[in-house]
Structure formats: C-alpha cells, structure tokens
C-alpha cells in the first residue's frame, strides 16, 4: 500500500501517522506540501493532525482552501481513499468531503487522554481488521472535536451506517463521561456515502506501538493494508 500524507504549515502529527502507515504496510509514505497542485497516483491520501494555519479562524478552514486540497478533492471524487485524523477530519469537513461541523469541546478545554471507541462498522476499507462492536483504546488530543450536524444529516449518517466510531465506556456502553468533547450521539468518526473517506478525531496512529500507547489503533492501518495492498 502506497500512501501520501498531506502536510500544511502547522501540521504536527504527520510523522506519527507516517510511522504507523509504514509499520503496517512496510512502505514509506510520501509527504505532500500544502502548495502542491498535483497528487501523484497513490492508494491512500492521509490528512494528519496538528494545527494547520494555527487553527486560526476555525480549525481546518484555511487548510481546506489550499491548492493541495483541490487536488485531493479531485482524487477523492474518483474514488481514492482519504483518511483525515483530528485536524485532518476538521479539514475534510471544512472542505465539504464529510458532512457536519466540529465545534469547541463542550468543556471548552483542550483534552488529551485515552478514550474508548466502539467500532460501528467492520466492513470498511478502514476497519475490516476489527470486529463490529469491538472496543478499542486510543488517545484524543484536540480542542474542537465536538461533532455536530443537523437532524437530517444525522439521520442520514445513522440510516446508512456511516458512523464509524463512537466514544463509549470501556464496556462498550454509551456514557456521558466517556464522551470527551460533547459530540452529538458520541460520534468520533464518520464515513462519506461511499465509505471511501473517513474522518475521525481520535489518534489511532498513536496506538500502534506496544511501548507507547498500545496496539489498539494498529487495526485501522492493518485494515487499510488488507484492502489496498
């Protein structure tokens, strides 16, 4: 699997995700810069975490309009899988590739901690190495991960099974204290309609090493390799 990671001024988790991708696939991903107008042929495009453009104005807003995003949208329209993590999720939402919006955490504070996620779909490109309903432990680190969307959008997401992950208690049940940011319906990650685009706030890439955060996030990268090798 050959992946390309897009980086913006202010991205800061690109290296974390490149290492996770390389660990899973054995292939070093290439790194693209925000000003690139073309994206070479690739199996997967990843928009990593960080504070693109300082997260000023709105998280992801300025990055969403950078030249590379235009190229990314074209690729995505043709079916190239796209993964957006944290700031990457915010950017995909601002770019219109995923519905809804990510608002300030309900606590109004940045939150960095381990959370539990329930895998809501194990058939996708991104999640086939997990079981449906499996609970995994991965960290979050963000100030604006409070997912919100209008009722129609939420209904659409639920009806079509487009919610990829939800924040849950360790036993897999929904619980307010398990939701780190106040997201509507405890949504942690969503797919686009064709399930070729996934955006999520948590950082599975920081749970791909037994000595730093455990291995629970590795399944996502393994899934991608399974699907795209």
């Amino acid at each position: 699997m050959k992946a390309a990671v897009v980086s913006f001024p202010g991205s800061n988790r690109e290296r974390d995700i490149m290492m996770a991708l390389e660990r899973a696939s054995g292939v070093k991903p290439s790194l693209l810069w925000h000003g690139d107008t073309e994206i070479p042929d690739t199996d997967l495009i990843v928009v990593p975490g960080g504070f693109s453009y300082g997260d000023y104005l709105r998280c992801g807003a300025m990055a969403a309009h950078s030249p590379v995003m235009k190229a990314l949208k074209e690729k995505a329209a043709k079916g190239t899988p796209v993964l957006g993590v944290c700031n990457g999720f915010q950017i995909l939402v601002e770019a219109g590739l995923l519905p809804g919006a990510l608002m300030r955490n309900a606590s109004l504070k940045f939150v960095c901690r381990q959370v539990h996620l329930r895998v809501e779909d194990s058939q996708s490109l991104f999640t086939n190495a997990y079981e449906k309903g499996q609970v995994i432990r991965v960290p979050v680190a963000h100030a604006e991960g409070n997912y919100t969307a209008d009722e129609d959008t939420l209904k659409h997401l639920e009806d079509r099974g487009l919610v990829a992950f939800r924040y849950v208690a360790p036993d897999g049940s929904l619980a307010p204290e398990a939701n780190p940011n106040g997201s509507t319906r405890a949504i942690a990650g969503i797919f686009n309609d064709s399930k070729t685009v996934l955006g999520l706030m948590p950082h599975p890439e920081d749970a791909t090493d037994p000595h730093a955060g455990g291995m629970d996030g590795f399944g996502m990268f393994k899934s991608l390799v399974n699907a795209l090798h």
């Binding site: 001024p9 202010g10 800061n12 988790r13 290296r15 974390d16 290492m19 996770a20 975490g49 960080g50 504070f51 453009y53 300082g54 997260d55 000023y56 504070k109 940045f110 939150v111 960095c112 901690r113 960290p139 680190a141 100030a143 950082h203 890439e205 920081d206 791909t208 090493d209 000595h211 730093a212 955060g213």
Partner: protein, 729 residues
C-alpha cells in the same frame, strides 16, 4: 518618546538604574546617553539580563563533566547522549508576565524557552513546567491556574511539542507572585550545535521571524523589579504569543541549519533586539551595526528606543556566512516569514544603530557587558530550625491522615492540568505525566531521555542549604526511579528581593546546597535562569530553586513506572526510615504547622541507594518503582496503587517507630519497589549495603493496614482525583 529626551535623574530612575550605575554608564559612554542608549543600559543591566546579584554565586556551580558539550553561557546547555546526539535543555521563568496576563504570559514563556533550545540547532522533543500558585482560597488563584494552564497548553499543543511533566504547588506566599517556569528538552547532532558568538566582520546580520511591534517594552526591567499594586495597574503592553509562527520559525531555522549558512544565531527573548545583538557581539569580541529602517515592523512610527527594546515574540537574529543571505531568504520565504538584512558585523567593538541615516545609538559593547554591575550583596543565613520529635506532633490515625493528604492541593492529582496538555504528540512518550519522571524516546535509537522538574520550597525556607540539596537530589531520584542515569540539570532560581539580607541568605544557602549535591552526584548544571524580586508589598515567596533534571536510558524498554501491575508481588522499602516529620507535608496539612528542620540528606547514601535501585530497574527485577518524597511512605504506596488499580496489604510499623512517623515521615533516599523476585531484590540490596525491608504485598482493590484499618481504591481515587476538577469548576 522622542530620542533626545533630556536625561534627568527621574528618567534614570524610571529605567531602574541606581545613581552609581548611572555614574558607571557615564564613565563608559564618556558623554550623556541618548534615551535609546539609556534604555539599552537599563535592560542589559537589569537583574534579568545581567544576573548582577546572583552571578558571583552561580560561578560556584559545577558546570563541566565528561558528557557536557555546552555549559551555561549559551542559549541552552547540551550534553552528549551517544549515537552522535546531544540533549539540549534549559528552563526559563515567566513569572511576572503570567501574573499580569496568565494565558499570554505562560504561552510566551513556553515560546521563549522553545526558541532558546532550537536556537542551538536542536529539535524540541518535550516541554515541562513548574508552577507555583497562591492559596487556593485567594480570589485570584483559580483564574491564574486556569489561564496559565491554558496558555502553556495552547502554545505547546499548537507547536506540536508534547508537554510531558511538571509540578504544581499552592502556598499563600505566592498569592501576589505566581511562578511559571517552563523547560524544554531538545535533540541535536552533537557535532552541529549552534552558538551565538558573532564572527567575521563584514558578515551580514539577518532578522527573521515575526514583525516587531510595541510588545512588552520594558519586560526585562519589569521582571527585575518588585511588584506593587501600582505596577499591576500600569499594565505594560503584554506580549501575545503566536505558536503558529513559532512552528514555522522552528522548521525554517532547522532547515537553514542543515545548510552551511549560519555563523551565529540567537533568539530575541527578554530585551529583544538589544540583548540578542549585544550578546552576539560581546561573545565574538566584535561590533554590530544595525539599521532600524530595515527591521520588519507591524506598527508605524516606532522609535529606535521602541524597536530596540520591543519584546515581540517569535523572532531570531542571525549572522550568516558571506553569500548565504540568499539561502536564508529562500527558506524563510518558503515558510512565509520575514527575513531582513538589518546590519553587519564590524570590527569596531561597538553597537551602532542608525535610523534615517543618523546614528542614534553608539555604545562600546565590551564594557556594557563586562563592566555590568556585579553585587556581592549582604546576606544573613536563615535561622536554624529545631528538629521536631515525632512524639511532639499531632497523631492522626493513618488512613484518616492519608485521606486528608491525598486530597490536599499539593498532593491531589494534577490530571486536570495534564489532560489539557498534548503529552503524546510524536508518539515517543513512554512514561506519561503522573509518574516520577517522564520518559521520551530518542528516535531512531533504542534510547530514551527521562526528565523531571522539582523543588520542595518548604524545605528551602526551613533550611536553604538542605532545601537546595534536596531539590537536586529529588530530581536525581526521580530519574533513577524510572531507570535512567541522571546526566545534568538546569535550574531556575526563584526568590524574593535580593537586597534584603535574609533573602540573599536564602539564595546563597540554596545555591551552596545545590552545588554540593551536583558535585557529589556528578550531575552538573548546564543552564539555568534566575528570577528575583518575587515579592509583593514586601512579602517574599518561599525560596523556590526549581531543578530540571535530565537522564538517559540506553534501552527504553527497561523503564518501569510506578503503577502496581500484579497482585501477589512483594512491596519492598529501600532506604532507611527514621520517621522525620520536621517540615513535612503531614506536619503542615494535618497539624497545621509549618515548622521544624527538614529531613537531612546524606549524599553518599543517596548515591549508593539510587545506584542500587537503578540496577534493579534495569535488570528487570522490579515491576514498579517509586521514590518517596512529599507525604512519605503511605502516600507513595497509595500513588502506586492508584496508578495501577491494584491495592496492597501492609505490615505494621517496626517497633520503636510511631505509626505516624513511619507512614508519613519524609526521610530522604528512599524508594518503594514491587517485585516478584523478593529474594533477588533483598540479596542485591544486602550486597550493596542498603537497607531493604518487606512492607507488604500487592493485593485486592484497597489499601489495608496491619490492624485492619483500610480504604478502597475507589474512595481514595475520588479523593485524589477530585480536588482539582472540583476546585476549578
């Protein structure tokens, strides 16, 4: 302000210079200074930049050793960690700005220390912070905690450097003077450490980074003057941090450093363009000529005085090799940062600053720096405090006392704080906040750096020398407990007004103790910072010499944390317990008594004990390890139990030691380990000549004392985790 203001006695005084200092200035200048020149002398001779009260004492620190690549004197210190790499680190205070504007003050403190480290050519890999706030009941405290924590997180999170450790204390002595000390650790190639000495007359001086505004003018002088209600009202223009620009500056600087372009580089921190240009020139024994007209400015009508003294953030000054200007320009343009040629290195030995073609500043650099005031201020030693006998202290049932201690502001969990810090970015944080020391992997090697900040001010006020020693020793112990070999320290000396002999006595005592400990442990001082005049209306803070320690693990998988992992392990107390309650947390929190001599320190015993423990950790003989400090043995065990979610059954105190002294005494040089190899541990300790004693066994979900008194971990956790979130809500 106009440049040719008449320099009256009042103007001189406003600039914080004494009559004698002004007389010295006149001698050096051989004429009356312009206002801009006076401003430059004022900041360069401020306590913050000149260390005029502390310099003679700082010289007594041991600063060299086989691993030291760069000791004090540069932007940060550096030590060799093998594999051709260096660990670069320093600590810096931003106390006064954080009191005035907690968010921006703390944020720009982090920004400043990050720059000190990446100026050296190092990529920052971790941030730490040491915080001291006033009484939780004081009306300002909550607001200050909230702003400072958000500011530290806001800056570090955005730039993508994990904030991995810190400490937070509360005490009424900080009501009007909080302490915000920030430390950064970075990694550089050992053969590519960048320095700040200007070389090569004719070489161009480049300004890079953000534009200059009227931010924080006089910040350096403010950090050197006592606080009054009035100065709070004056509210100097505070600096606003821009971590996004700093991230770009970091990447651009590292990119330029990879080219063969830089002669010298220095960040513009306190006293901005002034201190950076003067220090660069002084270190190289040369002169610098600057043209104010070429300085990128974000405001109009700025005077030379303002430009030279502005403390706008996210700026650097470079001297580049001939012809390298183009390379710098290209790289900074790529990162959308300003890069301006603002001057040249000269042979004159003078700092000459021109505006509109006219010379507005012309100062001989060497005397400005070398002849800066140096004071051996009068000092009186702190009165010796009596030893406090356990028999004379209040006795409270151990579990009841434990509950009270685990929920007191100093011991309560600081999770509410570190949850707001991205402590994971980089995916190299092996030991996260909450343990004895953080451990961060060194990429592309098997190594890791352990790091910690620590100080116990109540010991320092009780006996400055012992307290200074203890601050060093505790960091050494924290590093040891995670299996690291302590390498070197940086320190931040926070004290009150040095013109008061009793405060100066604290400074001298602490420095003496710190130096002694560093020598005995081969643990040199490689960088540091001094913050004096932490007083409000004549009330000084507790003496707070914060120590930042860094240690090395050759194999990162060998580290252990404090969390108990399995039931059925033996808990072994290593080191000797006499039950020292003087100046202890028990005494303060339970008996309401801030009295007594602090626990004595035997450096040889510390070393022997620590070497034993490190060997046990690295040899895989223990599953968990924790050094004992604030609160003593029972608190230490409780912390281990909470971290792992596994309880313990504890044996009775040895005969002859009263319960409260045994469980809460703060004797030094002690660790608790959990082991499945009890015989091995005891035999190794015996061979090393270090006392070791089984004190219980890991079991269940509560702490149970001999005699049956017990507390469940759930209850203990809600006490321990509950205080800060509740206080802040």
């Amino acid at each position: 302000m106009i440049p040719n203001t008449k320099i009256t006695a009042e103007v001189v005084q406003e600039h914080g210079l004494t009559e004698d200092e002004y007389a010295l200035l006149l001698k050096i200048m051989d004429r009356e200074p312009t206002l801009a020149e006076l401003g430059i002398f004022s900041v360069m001779w401020s306590e913050h930049c000149s260390y005029k009260s502390s310099r003679v004492w700082l010289k007594t620190f041991p600063t060299s050793g086989p691993k030291v690549l760069q000791g004090p004197g540069e932007n940060a210190g550096a030590v060799d960690i093998g594999d051709g790499l260096a660990a670069v680190f320093k600590i810096e205070s931003h106390n006064h700005p954080s009191f005035i504007e907690p968010y921006q003050g703390a944020a720009t403190g982090v920004g400043g220390i990050l720059r000190d480290v990446f100026t050296m050519g190092a990529r920052p890999i971790a941030n730490l912070n040491a915080l001291r706030f006033g009484d939780p009941k004081h009306p300002k405290t909550r607001h200050l905690v909230s702003g400072v924590v958000a500011g530290i997180g806001g800056y570090g999170n955005c730039i993508g450097v994990p904030t991995v450790a810190g400490e937070t204390n509360f005490h009424p002595s900080y009501n009007g003077n909080i302490l915000v000390n920030a430390m950064t650790v970075g990694l550089a190639r050992a053969d590519r450490i960048f320095k700040a000495a200007a070389r090569g007359p004719g070489n161009r001086v480049l300004y890079v980074g953000a534009k200059t505004g009227r931010d924080g003018i006089h910040g350096a002088t403010m950090a050197s003057a006592e606080f009054t209600e009035e100065s709070e009202a004056k509210r100097p223009t505070v600096q606003v941090g821009d971590p996004f620009t700093e991230k770009l500056l970091l990447e651009a600087c590292l990119e330029l450093m990879a080219e063969d372009a830089i002669v010298a580089i220095q960040d513009m921190g306190a006293a901005g363009l002034t201190s950076s240009s003067v220090e660069m020139a002084a270190r190289g024994g040369l002169g610098i000529e600057l043209n104010i007209d070429h300085v990128p400015m974000r405001e109009t009508g700025m005077t030379t005085y303002e430009v030279m003294l502005s403390e706008s953030q996210e700026r650097m000054l470079l001297v580049v090799k001939p012809g390298a200007e183009k390379i710098a320009e290209r790289i900074f343009k790529k990162w959308e940062l300003d890069c301006a040629d603002i001057g040249v290195v000269t042979e004159t030995g003078r700092l000459v600053v021109k505006k509109d073609g006219k010379v507005e500043i012309d100062i001989p650099v060497a005397p400005l720096v070398d002849q800066s005031p140096l004071y051996r201020r009068p000092h009186v030693p702190s009165p010796k405090r009596p030893e406090i006998k356990a028999a004379n202290t209040k006795v409270v049932e151990p579990v009841a006392a434990l509950k009270q201690l685990m929920g007191c502001p100093d011991l309560a969990s600081k999770r509410w704080i570190w949850d707001q810090y991205d402590h994971l970015v980089g995916n190299d944080t092996i030991q996260t906040p909450g343990g004895d020391a953080a451990v961060v992997r060194v990429r592309d090697t098997r190594k890791a750096l352990a790091m910690v900040v620590d100080c116990t001010p109540r010991y320092c006020v009780a006996d400055p020398k012992t307290g200074g020693m203890q601050a060093v020793v505790e960091t050494w112990r924290n590093l040891t407990a995670v299996g690291a070999e302590p390498i070197a320290i940086t320190d931040n000396l926070n004290f009150g007004n040095p013109q008061r002999p009793e405060i100066m006595g604290q400074i001298v005592g602490c420095i003496e103790g710190m130096g002694e400990a560093c020598r005995a442990l081969d643990y040199p001082v490689i960088s540091g910072n001094v913050s004096l005049y932490n007083e409000t209306n004549g009330q000084g803070i507790l003496p707070t010499p914060v120590v930042g320690g860094v240690g090395l693990l050759d194999e990162y998988t060998q580290t252990v944390g404090l969390a108990l992992k399995n039931a059925g392990c033996a808990l072994v107390l290593i080191g000797e317990t006499k039950g020292w309650l003087g100046a202890s947390l028990y005494l303060r929190e339970i008996a309401g008594w801030e009295e007594g001599a602090p626990p004595p320190i035997d450096l040889a015993v510390e070393r022997k004990t620590g070497d034993l423990v490190r060997g046990l950790v690295r040899g895989g003989k223990v599953e968990a390890c924790h050094d004992l400090s604030d609160g003593g043995l029972l608190v230490g065990i409780a912390e281990m139990a909470l971290a792992g979610g596994i309880g313990a059954k504890l044996e009775a105190a040895p005969k002859g030691t009263p319960d409260h002294a045994w469980w809460f005494g703060e004797d030094q040089a002690r660790y608790v380990v959990a082991t499945a190899d009890l015989d091995g541990v005891l035999a190794t300790a015996k061979a090393a000549g270090v006392p070791a004693r089984v004190i219980g066994e890991t079991a269940g979900a509560s702490l149970t004392l001999a005699g049956g008194s017990a507390i469940s971990l759930d209850e203990l956790r809600s006490i321990h985790e509950g205080w800060l979130p509740k206080y802040m809500s």
